[in-house]
């Protein structure tokens, strides 16, 4: 299996709320820092990728945020214009301005058109080798299959025409596991785990795109070994609790309760981790990113997660 960052195109997906954008941004930051010219592209219209770097807004035209790290946000209308001028060599783009708007309307309604414009642009960057690595902060897990299958779908729906001819090279890139892979971001909770397992299966049966890795985000640390947990339980006995409070010179109850809470939270999550591990191919890389007990979000958190990911890679 090709190492994760040696691929050319990575689609980062996952259930809403698991930290998909954090992982995409951190992977990109890490790749850039080990010397790969990296493009990170935000596909969702939410427009908050920039928050993870605190380096200003991103647009369709990629911008270099720091050496080797470029960022852009997808815009299907811009993608269409670029496509028309690059692929079809259609002159006088100005004249087709209203056409592009109409096209956007069809793109909203007709199946796969928006997706193909998105995938097409990303695959184009790979084909032209403008970057060593393109990381896509992709759509959520419910929509990723549709997006990845767009070239196939279009080539089936459209029998003739330039679009049909254009889908083949995209398929070549997408279905090549040495170049393209999907990264599912999960969290050790019930719904993200269930959705990750379901998506793993759907990727295998409904697409020809390779699953490159699963990143489990926000893993809580194991507080005690079994032996230490027995000690912790003895500490909670009423007499011991009071003796400890007296020695510290303050009530230890909230501090012990907090540890109890941490143990419980970890235990519930460990069950979900076990479920996930049991359900996926044992050769698939599972990367664990611990929960961040820090005040920071934004660029500092992205950097911290990038360091943690680097340890796992």
């Amino acid at each position: 299996m090709t190492a994760l960052l040696d691929r050319k195109l990575l689609f980062v997906t996952g259930k809403g709320g698991v930290g998909k954008s954090t992982i995409a941004a951190s992977l990109a930051l890490h790749a850039a820092e080990i010397g790969k010219k990296t493009l990170v592209c935000e596909v969702d219209a939410k427009g908050n990728l920039a928050d993870f770097f605190e380096a200003g807004d991103t647009a369709f035209t990629p911008r270099e945020l720091q050496p080797n790290l470029w960022a852009m946000s997808m815009n299907t209308e811009e993608s269409l214009k670029e496509y028309l001028s690059l692929q079809l060599r259609i002159p006088l783009i100005a004249r087709i301005g209203p056409v592009a708007r109409t096209f956007d309307f069809i793109a909203n309604a007709a199946p796969g058109v928006k997706e193909i414009l998105t995938i097409g642009k990303l695959a184009w960057e790979v084909k032209e080798a403008h970057y060593d690595l393109v990381i896509v902060d992709s759509v959520a897990s419910g929509h990723i299959i549709g997006q990845l299958n767009a070239p196939q779908g279009i080539s089936e729906l459209v029998q003739v025409g330039v679009v049909r001819n254009q889908t083949q090279w995209m398929l070549d890139i997408l279905t090549d596991p040495s170049r393209t892979g999907v990264v599912i971001v999960s969290a050790p909770e019930e719904m993200p785990t269930a959705e990750t397992i379901e998506l793993t299966e759907r990727l295998r049966t409904e697409t020809d795109v390779d699953l490159a890795a699963i990143v489990v985000n926000r893993v809580l640390p194991e507080l005690f070994t079994e032996r230490d947990e027995a000690i912790f339980e003895r500490l909670q006995a009423p007499g011991t609790r009071e003796a400890l409070s007296a020695a510290v010179g303050g009530d230890v109850a909230p501090v012990l309760d907090a540890a109890e809470l941490a143990v419980t939270l970890r235990r519930t999550r460990a069950e979900h981790l076990a479920t996930l591990r049991a359900a996926v191919d044992p050769t698939l890389p599972l990367l664990y990113v611990p929960y961040l007990f820090t005040r920071s979000h934004g660029a500092r958190a992205t950097r911290r997660v990038a360091e943690l990911l680097a340890e796992e890679l």
Binding site: I90, L157, E190, T240, V248, V255
Partner: protein, 391 residues
């Protein structure tokens, strides 16, 4: 009916008071915050304490939650949560709890059946391959269909209270605008223009460049397929537009209220705030804010910070004071870990408290729900969550 006749819900101090005056509750928020579970808990509490017939419509429930509600079959069918499930949870409800899931495809098919002008057009649309693709994604169809189903069920008059979970969207406000977008779509010039070539081969000068470009890109057969499909679809326009207007009125009705669900993490809370602002801008009623997975208040106690720090710094001496716990070295290690863990969680708890304090506007009813030990697997679990938000 046991419900109070009062309308409006202004001045409600608890979720119980709020729901007693409402017929529709819409649960919204970003993904992963417990929106579906909160909707189920609110509905279960209403059925238990307020009585009447209460329906919860969920979009994509966790398997255990679905099982807890007895939703084993997928589909639009409304199923009554059996009395035994309540009995097992030790509760005798005053009313009935019903549950249903939202099946987008089936709902679209129902809609086509209702609005198609005749059987021939109906069958043509249902069989159209583009329709099959599009009913999954057309004009943010999930958003619209959720609101459409809500309207349909509400008009049936079968329920005293309907609690509806909203589909996961890129943007939580999308579904608020879905009825309007649907109406706009059907009355748009673009639709008429797009469908023109199916009716006549004569193209206007204006549309010619579009078709020549589109032809080169997509091929004329595909364009004709699109045109035929939209031509068929347009025959349903009058019914659709009227319906979308009615759905929109229902959202703004005073019997409707919105329940915004979030956690105290930055991103979901930011989205919740944005959603609240959008509700205000549209004159729609924000009923309650439910904050899930909130860490306990004792984590923020200043006195406990000092205690935790001492556990870390003076672990060996303190271990000597509790010989009953075990060997001094081992106990010292555990004490230091306990202290560090408290300080870690305190950072998160304080961050959460700051996030909460920074909310620029919140409704009168705000419920904070602590972390639960385990996932909700039965009705007792749903009720335990409900108790946290109800009064």
């Amino acid at each position: 009916m046991s419900r109070k006749a009062a309308r409006g819900g202004e001045g409600a101090r608890t979720l119980e008071q709020l729901l007693a005056t409402k017929e529709i509750v819409i649960s919204c928020g970003s993904g992963g915050v417990g929106k579906t579970t909160t909707a189920a808990a609110a509905a279960t509490m209403a059925a238990t304490h307020l009585g009447g017939r209460v329906l919860v419509v969920t979009v994509d429930p966790a398997r255990r939650l679905a099982n807890a509600l007895g939703l084993e079959r997928f589909g639009n069918t409304e199923t009554r949560v059996p009395a035994e499930a309540f009995a097992a949870a030790g509760v005798e409800p005053r009313g009935e709890l019903w549950a249903a899931m939202l099946d987008t495809k089936q709902s679209w098919d129902d809609l086509v059946r209702r609005h198609a002008p005749d059987e021939r057009v109906r069958d043509q649309i249902l069989a159209n391959s583009l329709y099959q693709n599009i009913s999954g994604r057309f004009v943010q169809s999930h958003d619209y269909i959720a609101m459409e189903r809500l309207y349909e069920i509400h008009s049936s008059g079968n329920y005293d209270l309907i609690v509806v979970d909203t589909p996961p969207t890129r943007n939580a406000i999308d579904f608020l605008d879905a009825p309007e977008r649907m109406a706009d779509f059907f009355s748009s010039k673009l639709l008429r223009w797009l469908t023109a070539p199916a009716k006549s081969r004569v193209m206007s000068v204006a549309s010619k460049p579009f078709y020549s470009v589109a032809d080169r890109i997509l091929g004329s057969q595909f364009l004709e397929d699109i045109a035929e499909f939209f031509g068929l679809f347009q025959t349903m326009a009058p019914g659709f537009v009227e319906r979308a207007d009615a759905v929109r009125r229902t959202l703004g009705d005073k019997r409707t209220t919105f329940l915004v669900v979030s956690t105290l993490e930055a991103a979901p809370l930011h989205e919740a705030e944005h959603f609240i602002a959008e509700l205000d801008a549209r004159g729609l009623p924000l009923g309650a804010l439910v904050l899930n997975k909130v860490l306990p208040a004792y984590l923020r106690r200043t006195a406990a910070t000092g205690v935790a720090r001492r556990l870390v710094s003076d672990a060996p001496q303190l271990a000597a004071a509790v010989p009953a716990a075990g060997a001094a070295d081992d106990v010292a290690r555990v004490l230091a870990t306990v202290g560090e863990s408290f300080l870690n969680y305190q950072v998160v708890a304080k961050r959460e408290a700051e996030q909460r304090a920074s909310l620029s506007r919140s409704p009168e009813v705000v419920a904070a729900v602590p972390y639960f030990d385990a996932d909700i697997a039965d009705l007792a679990g749903v009720l335990a969550l409900g108790e946290q938000i109800w009064r």
